[in-house]
């Protein structure tokens, strides 16, 4: 009887969690074992048939490759740039607050707005890049229309958007390091690079892993820009997993197959999170 009060307090949050997180997850898994129902042909149990179809789906493999390429291009770059920017703005420099703020600005913009901004950069002939290139006599290029450049263009934009956000975490970590450590190293004759390599970088490791987890999830989760820029094209050259799921579910109305794709995406993210947290346990607890 005395627990009732506690349960009552938990109920609102529990309802929201179950209604919008846990039930959909379980329902998605359940649906992935059934065919898509139509008016004439009701949904029926098909076992692993959806998964077999997925294995045979060349678009799925292309989208997965795209996504891995996208992750490999954006994650290390944005982390490295974030770390560099944090070290730079952590130093004593004029108008430090202004510099910090301007690095952080891309983070507060919605992805849709950022995509529109960069659309103007990438547009052939009248876009910023082409205008700039034309000054040096470069030929116009359809950056987003060329399958060989489109994914790189998206990656550059994403790095620009993400790095400022990660910088904030690095900045916080840097400011929690006692300044005497750097002075002690200075007296011992350590160069800036040596100090960074042997002291700062290892001490930033917990932050790096935290940022790594976030960057990984983001590289699979952030697809807003595809709606504005490419819609996954040309010929799926810039299609990413989550956007493909959206297409399958709401353009092709293959809800069962979309469920199957979702289950695969969730499993992949879960596996990555587990690997990363195991690494954190092993490598980061220097204290």
């Amino acid at each position: 009887m005395k627990n009732v009060y506690g349960w009552l307090l938990l109920t609102p949050a529990a309802i929201l969690l179950i209604g919008f997180t846990h039930y959909p997850a379980v329902a998605t898994l359940y649906d992935s074992f059934f065919s898509t129902g139509t008016v004439v042909r009701p949904s029926r149990f098909v076992g692993l048939a959806n998964y077999a179809a997925l294995a045979d789906d060349p678009i799925f493999w292309q989208v997965l490759r795209n996504n891995l390429y996208f992750a490999a291009a954006t994650i290390p770059t944005s982390i490295a740039i974030a770390m560099l920017m944090a070290i730079w703005v952590n130093d004593r420099l004029p108008a430090r607050a202004l510099v910090r703020m301007s690095y952080f600005t891309p983070t507060i913009l919605p992805m849709v707005a950022v995509a529109n901004l960069w659309l103007f950069f990438y547009t052939p002939q009248i876009g910023l890049i082409d205008k700039f290139g034309a000054m040096f006599g470069a030929a116009s290029h359809n950056w987003l229309g060329d399958p060989s450049t489109v994914l790189a263009c998206l990656a550059v934009m994403t790095v620009w958007k993400e790095a400022g956000f990660f910088m904030i975490f690095y900045l916080a970590a840097l400011q929690s390091l006692p300044p005497e450590i750097e002075e002690a190293a200075k007296i011992e004759g350590a160069s800036r690079w040596y100090f960074f390599r042997r002291v700062t970088f290892p001490l930033l490791m917990p932050t790096t892993l935290f940022v790594l987890v976030n960057a990984t999830i983001n590289s699979f989760k952030l697809v807003d820009h595809l709606f504005i820029l490419t819609k996954g094209g040309p010929d799926n050259a810039s299609n990413l997993l989550l956007y493909y799921i959206y297409q399958v579910a709401f353009s092709f109305f293959e809800t069962s197959y979309a469920s199957t794709l979702t289950v695969v995406l969730l499993a992949m993210l879960a596996a990555m999170a587990i690997v990363q947290f195991l690494l954190i346990e092993k490598r980061v607890h220097y204290r």
Binding site: P178, E180, I181, E183, A184, A185, K186, I187, E188, G189, A190, Y194, R198, V199, P202, L203, M205, Y286, R287
Partner: protein, 360 residues
């Protein structure tokens, strides 16, 4: 071999002079303590010597070489920080040999030195621990080891004992002093604790508001304070300072009748150490006990004399109810006279020893 000389060193932060025209010499192999209250500029002074702050004016010489504009690592000094500044992710061993690795010393030599130093500071068993797994005293030893392994002969210490508990502090005091003498290091040691200064130093530099207030051996500072500030700062409790007035038969403590010595008292302040005052059966100066504080080995009595208050230290337990009238005695040579307005020690002929007894 490793002498530090400061010539009129000044450090400004904006309009504020944190260090103002300080000159002193730390002779080779000596233990020099920079003593002063917090915010007096003593730490800044140490950081100037280390090269962690830029000198605004003046010169710093090490072994006759001008190092004023040299970077910290070129000055061949070691430093122990108040917070120890150990690298939290490195083991004791890695912390100690950090500087040797930076300089690219061969591993064999490194290992030889490490073994020797670990022996000296008693860390041989703890070399693979991380700083978080060490006690405060052990971390202190790691910081010391890191400072002495470079064999620089000059070691700067910034309040290295202030994070330790009282008992450990006493042990480390003895140890650091012993280490300094054994290795023949020149140490410049910053502290606000006069007990550390008195017990460890060959030479004390007392600093107040960025300037040197008095400089000398601990004995000199204790026996012959140059100013009222120095008088009050040295000793626990510090020297009593009682304002004097003119009496009919000589100088008196303000509000008191009993003449202390011949001559005028107005405009002067009398200094006398609590441990140099005793309870007399007759003669001396009349006072009234205000309170008594038992410390174990001795008792600190607070006594009202005229309008002034005075502490006296008496051995053992001395029970005196507040309000008890007492008479205080002292030797003329333990009395000091200061100029009240300037705070400086009065001229020698004005000192009680030279003035003679009060008339009548």
């Amino acid at each position: 071999m490793s002498e530090i000389v400061l010539e009129k060193v000044t450090r400004r932060f904006g309009q504020v002079k944190a260090v103002d025209g300080v000159s002193f010499r730390a002779e080779s192999g000596k233990f020099v303590v920079l003593l002063g209250p917090s915010g007096c500029g003593k730490s800044t002074l140490l950081r100037l010597i280390a090269g962690l702050e830029d000198v605004s004016e003046g010169k710093i010489l090490v072994d006759g070489h001008d190092v004023t504009r040299l970077s910290p690592d070129k000055r061949r000094v070691s430093m122990v920080f108040q917070s120890y500044a150990l690298f939290p992710h490195l083991s004791t061993e890695e912390n100690i040999v950090f500087g040797l690795k930076v300089r690219g010393m061969p591993e064999e030599e490194r290992r030889k030195r490490l073994a020797k130093v670990a022996q000296v500071v008693g860390l041989a068993e703890l070399l693979d621990r991380k700083p978080q797994q060490l006690s405060g005293g052990q971390r202190q030893r790691v910081a010391l080891a890191r400072a002495i392994i470079a064999e620089n002969n000059i070691c700067l210490m910034d309040e290295p004992l202030s994070n330790l508990d009282a008992q450990l502090r006493h042990g480390m005091r003895v140890e650091i002093r012993e280490l300094q003498q054994r290795l023949g290091m020149t140490v410049v040691y910053v502290t606000h604790d006069q007990v550390e200064a008195m017990s460890m130093a060959d030479r004390v530099v007392l600093i107040r508001e960025g300037r040197i207030e008095q400089e000398g051996s601990p004995e000199e500072l204790y026996a012959r304070p140059a100013t009222m500030f120095a008088a009050r700062f040295i000793g626990t409790p510090g020297m009593n300072l009682l304002k004097l007035a003119d009496g009919p038969r000589g100088a008196v403590v303000r509000g008191s009748q009993d003449a202390l010595f011949a001559g005028g008292g107005e405009g002067f302040t009398l200094g006398v150490r609590p441990e140099h005052v005793w309870l007399a059966d007759s003669g001396g100066v009349a006072g009234m006990v205000a309170s008594s504080e038992y410390h174990g080995a001795d008792t600190i009595l607070t006594v009202r004399v005229g309008d002034e208050t005075l502490f006296m230290r008496a051995p053992g337990q001395l029970v005196h109810a507040p309000g008890t009238p007492v008479r205080l005695g002292w030797k003329p040579e333990s009395l000091h006279v200061f100029d009240t307005a300037s705070g400086a020690r009065a001229a020698e002929e004005l000192q009680p020893v030279r003035r003679g007894a009060a008339a009548g």
